[in-house]
Symmetry: C2
Subunit: 438 residues, 2 copies
């Protein structure tokens, strides 16, 4: 629809004029080509009432159904778009930070329809707005109240493990692909003996012919009970049930019956809505992994900010969220990792906190840095090769992690605390060798 001046005004409003409980608030970074207000009116129109009246009838659906600009910060003019994108408009280019009130009555409290609204065709195909990043979504309690969120949350995971006032120690059993269920179980068993709370399947290992979920969860369920008896501590086997969505409930039931007491799910690959379905059904904590998210969150000024995905994963009901962690190894700015951790922990209506698990090439040597950056004990620590590639084996690998935590608690350096503790010493030695080598 051609936009005239009076049309454009219908897409601008303010928090004072609107009944805000009826609206989500969407924060976008936009690069607008041509007149900014025209582009923004189109941006609102395209994601809501693209044609707001029938031909020949005097009506206006905008007051009830239009998305509206309620905040605009023009960041400056740009010599060119930050990314080359074909587009139809001409004129000056401005970078803008925009707040939009989007009426949730247009779709209701449903994740697929929410996603279609806030990062759908309207958002990414508005004339004059070729570059878009969705930065955040604010939900009124009226919308949130339809969601249950995590069934267990951080407190539930801690109660299950009787582990308080410290991080939760995960480990990704490695070799991640190729081990028989029996060998997999033996390695997990060793890691539990060494001090891991949670031995987990890799996000790439699910139900395959050479290691069916049924066989693996059976072996691991038995190994877990043995480890609990031997250590006197509760342990968790985190089984990856990522599968076609019509199999998820069945896979949950098989894994839990066999002794998996938490379940891993690749949230975006199955879809956030499938996570929500599973969360309603689950008898054990659900932990999400992050495949696919980088494909639309890594660009600084395009796509969707990862914090939005963390928020939606929590909303969908994940009790814990594994995410790219600190350090350039994980190609994520430190501020972004902090944002994602905060999304797990901060107040969010009646929705329980999720345990954040910032991960990526961790070991006894990185624990203190992660802990300092997180700033609390409410996180999960998830080495893979740092435990299972330990030169003395997985039990020693797990011990090295717990020894590193003991050192932190006692305020001692790793070098100091490693004396007389060969498991930790072996890791310190690796690091020292690397330093000499470089």
């Amino acid at each position: 629809m051609l936009m005239y001046n009076e049309d454009i005004k219908g897409f601008f409003s303010s928090r004072e004029e609107l009944n805000m409980p009826d609206y989500l608030t969407l924060e976008y970074y936009l690069e607008c080509v041509g007149d900014i207000e025209t582009a923004l009116a189109h941006f609102c129109s395209e994601q809501s009432t693209a044609q707001w009246k029938r031909v020949g009838i005097d009506e206006d659906f905008r007051p009830r159904y239009a998305a509206m600009v309620i905040g605009l910060d023009v960041l400056g003019e740009l010599p060119q778009l930050s990314y080359s994108v074909p587009h139809s408009e001409t004129g000056k280019i401005h970078a803008c930070r925009v707040t939009i009130a989007h009426p949730h009555r247009n779709f209701g409290p449903k994740l697929p329809n929410l996603i279609s609204a806030v990062c759908g065709e309207g958002v990414y195909f508005t004339p004059g707005v070729p570059v878009v990043k969705l930065l955040d979504i604010g939900f009124p309690q009226e919308f949130l109240s339809a969601f249950d969120g995590p069934k267990f949350g951080i407190a539930g995971i801690r109660d299950l493990l009787k582990a308080y006032n410290r991080p939760i120690f995960f480990g990704v059993v490695k070799p991640n692909i190729g081990l028989s269920p029996e060998h997999f179980g033996e390695i997990a068993f060793q890691s539990w003996l060494g001090g891991l709370d949670i031995a987990k399947d890799d996000e790439m290992l699910a139900d395959v012919e050479w290691s069916t979920l049924a066989d693996r969860s059976c072996e691991l369920g038995k190994a877990r009970i043995r480890a609990e008896k031997e250590t006197g501590e509760p342990k968790v086997y985190l089984a990856n049930i990522t599968d076609e969505v019509d199999q998820l409930i069945n896979q949950h039931d098989i894994a839990v019956k066999n002794g998996a007491n938490a379940l891993l799910i690749n949230a975006l690959p199955v879809g956030l809505s499938a996570v929500r379905m599973l969360a309603k059904h689950t008898k054990v904590p659900l932990i999400g992994h992050f495949p696919f998210i980088a494909a639309f969150s890594r660009m600084e000024k395009f796509g969707v900010h990862s914090r939005v995905m963390t928020k939606l994963q929590r909303l969908a009901g994940l009790d814990s969220i594994i995410m790219p962690g600190f350090g350039s190894r994980m190609m994520t700015a430190e501020e972004e990792v902090r944002d994602n951790i905060q999304e797990c922990l901060q107040e969010f209506g009646h929705i329980r906190p999720s345990l954040p698990v910032p991960g990526g090439s961790d070991s006894a040597l990185t624990l203190e840095a992660v802990y300092r950056k997180v700033g609390s004990v409410d996180f999960g620590f998830v080495p893979g090769r740092g435990v299972f590639g330990h030169p003395m084996g997985p039990k020693a690998g797990a011990s090295s992690i717990r020894q590193a935590w003991d050192a932190i608690e006692k305020g001692l350096s790793l070098d100091e605390y490693a004396i007389g503790r060969p498991e930790l010493m072996a890791m310190v030695a690796v690091e020292n060798a690397k330093k000499q080598h470089s």
Copy 2:
């Protein structure tokens, strides 16, 4: 795992050395930092066997479980990464086109696990490979055979409509958000009378309090029967059942019982696996819409190429795929639109062709250009405001589309053919007014 020279070799092979039916072939654009072969070995390792032996045991999981480089084209050295991404490696930067053989036994014929493998953590978090675009996936018949693909395909849609040797004429009922089911039905009815084959819900309109799917499909089902009686032609009401995945089967059943004879689903927002589930169940053709895809496909050198998503949507069972169409309005290069159309139509094992629907601000005025660019009649044409914003109303809007097709068939210009046809003339006049205005 540290990579030594002999380790790197384990991730390189050739089509001749491998049993290719065991492998998917993945095409990537990569920007590698530092030694190219080391980076590529990591790239393969991270997406498959990140640790390929147990500590202290002489074994090697790579021959059976490793992804391997089977093709490498170094495109050239770059002065810097195409996009600023934090990363840990240093050295020269090279743009590469890489073909990787990825063993599908690592995950099996399951869409969420496939997605986790080909655009998961391994792919986007490999040291030395901060910039990645997945360009294509090749499937051996051994993998494809587990999929049913579209139940109806192009032939099924044509048979339903008894419409052959011409494009299929869709229209998105507008106003898209805000109409009562009764008014929505009346407008769709008019558009069918004017000559549309398929009147469709907007991708943003699903099951909402003010227009429940039950009420709307009931009104539209009745209106469709009336239109079929009046015109003597089969008509389709395409109902949008996008919803939480545990509601999809139920929504299918409600809509179909009430007279919807095709269903719209926002594929990525519900998840491709949910589409596959629905395709197994459906009694009517399934048409997919494209929200969210632009968020990870628009960057030229990062993310996932849209052709991969078209291929996966076809594999999941969509009988027709709506996609961003031609022209800078839709911010998609012409070659990319052609790639996506081809993905719908080309030979794909036993998987039926899907009807491609390249869309975006179409009208009687754009039909010929789209037809010429598609190069065949096997496409759907999907105006919104071009039909429902027509100055003489939706019946005239639909007529203008059919008149435009008649003109093409007769080899006449629109200007010529519009004489004595006020519906088409009104559209031609709009265009002429615009030309004068600009």
